[in-house]
Symmetry: C2
């Protein structure tokens, strides 16, 4: 698992970890059921506290992206519910990104192409 953390970012570390894993699952870099690093292992590797990784894993578990087992550790949820509705929060985040890129001069077609590429990105 590639995990790039930006300690000077305004995004909290635990959220960066959470985001990396979500993106990894969506891109196929992490496959359904795949074993994730242990909390302690990832904390060591990333140079952060165990509880910071734990916070990320707890959030991912609560969101249904991963499952945890005291025996085997954490795994990507082998059966993520792809029938759940996206929230208004996602739409608002999307609106914001589109607004910012629009004001950077990105045209609709350029933007859609960027999205197409990201959508099709495989590991």
């Amino acid at each position: 698992m590639l995990l790039e953390l930006d300690f000077s970012s305004d995004t909290p570390i635990y959220m960066q970890i959470r985001n990396s894993i979500v993106v990894g699952i969506a891109s196929g870099e992490l496959s359904a059921g795949e074993k994730l690093p242990t909390i302690r292992g990832l904390a060591d590797e990333a140079g952060v506290n165990m509880m910071t990784v734990n916070k990320a894993y707890s959030l991912l578990k609560q969101e249904g992206y991963i499952v945890t087992d005291r025996r085997n550790g954490a795994c990507v949820n082998p059966d993520i519910n792809t029938a759940k509705a996206y929230g208004e929060e996602e739409i608002n985040k999307l609106k914001l990104v589109i607004s910012e890129m629009k004001l950077s001069g990105v045209t609709e077609e350029e933007f859609l192409n960027i999205c197409r590429n990201i959508f099709r990105e495989k590991e």
Copy 2:
């Protein structure tokens, strides 16, 4: 200016204000050169502290979205630089939204249609 603040959100108030204005400019709700509410006025209206609004305006000014004048107050920058490159940060935010919606079961075509609608949204 419509301004909906969610005080229970994990997004700071000053950032919500900043985001609302960015979206407003991009959608055309706020036009180039248009006068914005005064810091004190908006603070009163929104029920927040003056310095919170000031923080949002300072950020918007620094980002080039608005200009300020001690005489007239703050205005939408009449000449926003639409030739500036979008940052990697925007791409990462976009990747995250796409990932989350993908994992909610949204197909590529559905997603592109949502984007098209947002992109064309006028006030």
